[in-house]
Amino acid sequence: MVEFLTSVGALRLANPILAASGTFGYGLDLCDLCPPERLGAVVSKGLSPAPRAGNPTPRIVETAAGMINAIGLQNIGVEAFCREAAPELARRGATVIVNVFGERPHAYREVIERCELVDSIAGYELNVSCPNVDHGGMEFGHDPKQLAALTALCRGATRRPLWVKLSPNAPHLIATAQAAVDGGADALTLINTLRAIAIDPIRRKPVLATGYGGLSGPAIKPVALRMVWEVHRSLPAVPVVGIGGIESGRDAIEFLLAGASAVQVGTAIFRHPSAPLRILSEIEAFCSSQGVREVRSLVGGLQWP
């Protein structure tokens, strides 16, 4: 019997496999194929104070072992989430992390303040790294000073676990990570998508309506793994949640070894809605075969040359 119980900072999780923001809806869309309560936690689609219509289509395009998306943070708004989705998620016993997005710093705080009224929400993940929104997102994630201030603003609104999701496109990864920690972040999630474009050579236009989008999927795994390791190496005391191209239990274990306390599964859910469950059983098989009793014991176990 392998022990899956783990924790990200003070937050205890039944297992280290989470569903990533924007790839699992509001947590209830796949109850038949992947019950949210069986995951370590589900991270909601990015929520803003008011509903957002998002970008025009096309919003997605497939690339080699990856995809580019420019959803533009379409979401039902925090109010609808708290009223409609949160209660059912609570009834099911799912652990819920709300992914927070705003166009102005205070909008982030508004989202959190509304969620504070819902007992069952376990924590927050600030999306300061969405590469495909003109206002907001980008800037906070790229400027350490702004990021520290934004994090502190949000910190002031909650005692719950506060994660900051870093941008792989930020100029200075470690400085950005440090800024989030200085602002009061309990953990860092990385990575979000890599800024990218796809071109239709016949129409001579970008495939996506907005031009730029974010690259995700197995293609980015080697970069994500590197960033998780760099952050863990330079800030060993800071819990990291790893994400980027995880398709298999082996992938997940690589992120744990690189220093992630837990991992999130994103794009893989699109091909296999039940991927997180398969990944859990693959981790169990790996641990049994390797004589690992506690999955937790793998965290940070990478031996660097």
């Binding site: 038949d32 998002g54 998306n69 379409q74 794009t267 699109f270």
Partner: protein, 271 residues
């Protein structure tokens, strides 16, 4: 509503239908169903290439003693469909179905509907035709293609029509078969000649659907259109496939669609 399942299916038969199109029979020991207009997400390739599943309308579901066989009609346009065309018989594929909302057959059954298919838009229309025929509903079937060689399953369409005594209208853009011109021209012609359709079920290229919508609003008919938006997940979680409705809302075509009433799609063709 039929519960969706993510099933391993065996590729038991592949038939060439035209220079570019072929049919697939996929078998599962499990029982699974679908309504006309619903679709499935099929994993193409056994690795990371291509990464995402591909959406395909269900062309038919046949429950038998040994389980269920699902029929798809596919046009080769790129990596995934090229792989499907070459996958060895007996190979195991992954199919998630049924997904989305199909046509409203009950409403269609109360009138003499027109079913309109353009090119590879046939699968959901053919499925609807066969279901309506089972219910002895009389309808006309319009089937258009760029050229005669690309008119799919015409014999089968004729057979279905014969059982209900409707009309099968074939059209080709290049005049190599049936009536010359677009399938929607043939529809307009008959409606001008006084044939009344209160409902139209259609699937095909976007310009064809737009023409059907325009005709329907003029003729005061209800048109149900099956759209094809690029999809990553097919289950409503990626928000990649949204369609803008007349009321400005952006809804997922994989869950609220792929079949929409034309009247709700004004915004789509305004832009």
């Amino acid at each position: 509503m039929i519960a969706r399942r993510d099933l391993p299916v065996r590729l038991v038969e592949r038939r060439d239908l035209s220079p570019t199109c072929f049919s697939l029979l996929l078998a599962s020991p499990e029982g699974v169903g679908a309504e006309p207009g619903q679709f499935g997400m099929l994993a193409c390739g056994n690795g990371l290439d291509p990464l995402l599943r591909r959406p395909f309308s269900i062309a038919g579901v046949h429950a038998g003693a040994t389980g269920t066989t699902v029929e798809l009609l596919v046009k080769e346009v790129g990596r995934g469909t090229a792989w499907l065309r070459r996958a060895p018989l007996g190979a195991t594929l992954e199919l998630l179905l049924p997904l989305g909302r199909g046509f409203d057959l009950d409403a269609a059954a109360t009138v003499r509907p027109a079913l309109v298919a353009g090119g590879i838009g046939l699968p959901p229309v053919l499925f609807a035709a066969e279901r309506l025929a089972e219910r002895a509903v009389r309808f006309d079937l319009y089937l258009g293609a760029v050229t005669a060689a690309e008119l799919l399953e015409t014999r089968r369409c004729q057979a279905v029509i014969d059982t209900v005594g409707g009309e099968l209208i074939l059209t080709t853009d290049d005049g190599t078969g049936g009536e010359t011109g677009f399938v929607t021209d043939a529809l307009r012609r008959r409606s001008r000649q006084g044939r009344v359709y209160q409902r139209v079920l259609a699937c095909g290229p976007d310009p064809m659907l737009q023409a059907v919508a325009r005709w329907a609003s003029e003729a005061g008919a209800v048109a149900e259109l099956s759209l094809e938006e690029p999809m990553a997940c097919g289950v409503g979680v990626c928000l990649g496939c949204v369609v803008e409705l007349a009321d400005g809302r952006r809804v997922t075509s994989c869950k609220e669609g792929p079949v929409f009433e034309a009247s709700r799609l004004a915004a789509r063709w305004r832009s």
